[in-house]
Every structure is written in C-alpha cells, then in structure tokens.
C-alpha cells in the first residue's frame, strides 16, 4: 500500500531515532543512505529504486568520519528526504543526489543544537551522582535526550515528505531542460567528492599510486567491484607482509605508543582534517 502519510511518519521517526544515536553500531547502520533506501523502498513496494537512490547518496558522503561526534554533513537527513521524494514523485535518482546535498548541510545545525542542550542532562547527572541515584543517571543519559531529539527532528522530515512530492512534481514541470540536465550531470560528478574526501583522509603519499592502479585497472579491464576488491586485498597483504612502508611504520608507532599523550592529541589528525574541510579554521 503506497501511503504518503505512512512514508512521512516512518521517515520522520527514522530520522528521530537514528540521529538520537542509540546503539553505537546500530546508528551507523540506520544512518546509511543505502540501508535507508532499501528499507523505505520496501515500504513503498519498490526496493530497487530505493536502494539505487540510497547508494547514489551514500557515495557522496564516503570518508566523512565524525570524530568527537562532529558530523560534517548529515547523510541520514539527506537520504531520508531525497529517497522518499524519488519514490513518491517523478524525480530521477540522479536528481535526488543534487537535492540531498543541501539538505544534509541543515542536519549539522540540528546536531549542534542537540549537543548544546545535552549539557542540561549532564548537569542533572552531577546532582544525582551525589545522591547515588544510578537509575536517574541512566534516564538522563538515554531517555531524556532521546525525547528532546523527537521534538527537534521528527517535524522537519515529516513535513518535507508529506508535502514534498507534490511540490517536486510541480517544480519538475517548470524547471528548464538545461537545469535538469545540469543537475543530473551533478549527480554523476558529486561522487568525486566522496572519493576525494576518502583519499584526503587516508592521506599519505606512499598510498597514492594505489589509487591510480585501482582506477586504471577498472578502466582498462572493466573488472567488477568484488574483483577489484580481491586484487586490492592481495596487493595490500603482499605489501604488508613485506614489512609495509618504512616511513609510515615509525610515524604511526610514535603517534599511538605514548601513554602520556594529551587527551586529544591522537584525535587531532582527523579532527583537523574535518575542520579544514568544514572551514572552521
């Protein structure tokens, strides 16, 4: 049964719960656009279109780590608005990616807001600790922040999906052809952002040639992804059995072996990378 109301409610609840970050490995699954695409697709009776839209959005956000919980862009929000719109309107999968990207930026604001408000609960926990109230502390660590998240998150996604499809369908008839074409070119180009971000995160110059080997191996041979993964894993194991790259061996050991490192030292590399990308510096 294809019900816009049901879709709007489910995706709103999904955004609330996944962004509430309950279950450390659970929420990384719930926030994955691929997984969201598959599940919402099932709900609409079209899992293939759903997972295709989700996968296209996933690629744009590859390599974005959230050190210290600072998300650089909210891929779950992006997917939870773009995927239902693909399913419910005439919008193509390529267009979905271009719609998703600006939406993802809004999610960052909501997340930061949440982390300001969460300070309330830690202050209450300070008082409860003096009384030895274990259950009270648990409530402040879980249920209250989750409840607060509902107010902040559910309405946005619900409204966007409940009214969005009609709006998009109207827009699609007005927007000139060249804009639509430009947006679908963008859908093909935005994945470059995800891959470049990952290369940037993995960094080190010794690894760069491997990128080109992977790229041209596939370009020339038309190898499938799993085929490429097999070759890649074998190359990685051979290099590692031969002792790896000497320069990097020393570097990583020095980074992680000292116990007296100041609390955030080891985190700084990633945090810096994200900060630079977000322009916080």
């Amino acid at each position: 049964m294809q019900s816009v109301l049901l879709m709007a409610i489910v995706s709103g609840l999904w955004y609330w719960f996944s962004a509430g970050l309950a279950g450390y490995t659970l929420f990384s699954m719930l926030k994955s656009p691929t997984f969201i695409g598959f599940c919402l697709g099932l709900l609409w009776g079209d899992p293939i279109t759903g997972i295709m839209a989700g996968g296209s959005i996933e690629v744009v956000y590859l390599g974005l780590v959230a050190p210290g919980g600072n998300i650089p862009s909210d891929k779950a929000l992006a997917a939870l608005i773009a995927v239902p719109l693909v399913l419910m309107s005439d919008m193509s999968v390529e267009l979905a990616v271009s719609v998703a990207v600006p939406v993802g930026a809004i999610g960052v604001l909501i997340n930061n807001l949440r982390r300001y408000f969460n300070a309330i609960f830690v202050h209450r926990a300070d008082e409860l600790a003096v009384e030895g109230d274990v259950k009270g502390i648990w409530r402040n660590a879980t249920w209250y922040p989750l409840a607060l998240g509902f107010v902040m998150r559910f309405p946005i996604v619900f409204v966007a999906n409940y009214f969005g499809a009609d709006l998009i369908n109207q827009l699609l008839t007005i927007i000139p052809e060249w804009v639509l074409h430009g947006m679908s070119v963008m859908g093909g180009l935005l994945p470059a952002l995800g891959f470049a971000t990952t290369i940037f995160m993995i960094g080190k110059r010794e690894y760069i040639p491997l990128f080109f080997i992977g790229y041209f191996l596939v370009e020339y041979s038309g190898l499938t992804t799993i085929g490429a993964a097999i070759f890649g894993l074998m190359i990685a194991l051979i290099i590692s059995y031969m002792g790896g790259f000497p320069r990097l061996r020393g570097e990583i050991a020095a980074e992680s072996s000292r116990e007296e490192v100041s609390p955030k030292t080891a985190r700084r590399t990633n945090q810096d990378a994200i900060d630079e990308m977000m322009g916080r510096k």
Binding site: Y24, F27, S32, T34, F38, G55, S56, E58, V59, L62, V65, G69, S98, P102, F117, N118, A119, V122, A125, D126, A129, V134, W138, N140, V179, V185, M186, L189, L190, A192, L193, A196, T198, I199, I202, K204, Y207, F211, F212, G214, F216, E219, L223, T225, I226, A229, F231, A236, L237, R249, I252, A253, V261, P263, A266, R267, E276, M277, M278, G279
Partner: protein, 273 residues
Amino acid sequence: MESNNKTQLTKRDITRTYLRWWWTAEISNSFERMQSLAYAASMGPILEKLYGKGSQGLKDGLQRHLAFFNTQAIWGALIIGTTVAMEEQKASGEDIPDETITSFKSGLMGPLAGIGDSLDFGTIQTIFYSLAASFAVTGNFLGAFFIVAFSVIHFFVGLGFMHTGYQQGRKSIMDILQSGRINAMIQTASILGMFMMGALSANMVRLETPLEFNVSGSVINVQETLDGIVPGLLPLAAVLLVYWALKKDKFTLSQLMVIITIVCLVGAFFGIF
C-alpha cells in the same frame, strides 16, 4: 553498608556493561562533557553491585566517572573494561587512588579514539560502505547486506575489547598500542582503501562531454579523442581536482559542493557536458 566480602563480577556483568555502553555512548553527547554522562550511566549498576546501594563508595564512583571523557566507543570498550576491573579491585580493598583511574581514562581515550576513528570509520567502514554503494546503485540488495554486516561485526569487536580490557587490564591496552600489529592493520587497510577508491571512482564517477569540433570538414568528437588517449580521463581529472582543492586547503567541503553545482549548471547551459 561497606562490605568487606569481595563481590565477584561475572562474565554476564561485563557483557551487560558493554551493552549499556554500546546503547548509550553517544545519546547524551554534549559539547561540554562529551561522553562523560554515558560513561557514568554505563558504570552505574557495576558500582552499585560492588559498593552497595546508597553507599559512599557508589556516590564517589559515580562522580568519578562523570569526569570529561570522549573516545571512539568500540576501542574505548578496552578502557571501560579495564576500569571495571580497577573498580572491582578498589572495592575489594586495594589502594587505587581516584586519580589513577581518572588519569588512566583520560590518558588513553585519545590514542584509542585516534585508532578507532581512522582505522574503523575512516578506512574499514569506508571500504564496506563503498562496496555497498557500488552494489546499491545497480539495484542489487547485497548493498544493504554489506551495511548490516559491518555493524554486526563491529558490535562483536567491541564486545571482545570489553572482555579483553576486563581480563587483562591496562597492560593489554599498552601491548596493543605498542605492538606492530595495529600499525600493520592500519597500513593494510589504508592500501586496500586507497586502491578501492581508485577502482570505485572508475566505476561510479561519471562525466562526459558531447562537444564536437568541425576542423576543415572533418568532425572531431572530443570524448572519443580523450578515450583514445587514456580511458576515463574526465572523471579522473574531477576526482584529482577535488582532492587537490581539499589538500591545498583552498576550499572547504561546502564551498566545493557549491562550485560543483555551478560548474555543472553552467556546463549544461553551454552544452559542454
């Protein structure tokens, strides 16, 4: 209600502490104290069992674990496992000062977060997710399976770390940090990651030009000419340009998104793409 009997913690206690930590680690994350509330909430029932309900030991313990804390929760399970063991010894009468526990936590949360963020999320998860996405865009349900598989494996890795931390204590963490194994794992994963980024860029980044030039009567198709030199030059150039822009610190991610939008729209308007 201070009891002198040693309270023995069971395997089940440790697993349940992990489950609490796994469930709550990020929910209450705040700018002010990060995961400190989650840490205290996860330790609460253990402290209650060790020191007794309403005891001074419990109250002190809860306050002790409300100190600033932030790490990657899976590798951080090593820390929480170890502190459970430390609390158990402290409760049984051994002299372990508060500062020892607190400085142990704050000393190791950084290095372990560094490993967890870069190895688990930066590299291995990215490999899983990019494989997933490459299946997903062709409409293959295996895509969703890869996402679920990573989460399940990651969950059990954390559970393993929790028990290791509890059984072997602080020594286990130092051993892990100092052994070459972590280093080898990071290198292997990075090499595979970099290779896969190349392979997937070739598969998933799409950019073509319909441009044609009429040179003295014969039509030259730009795309065919480029493919004749080296296949896939345009998508490759796009990835390298974005990488260069990030690396040279010239542009931020959001600026790049805006630039890509403008380039695509302008290109489409003039028929370049």
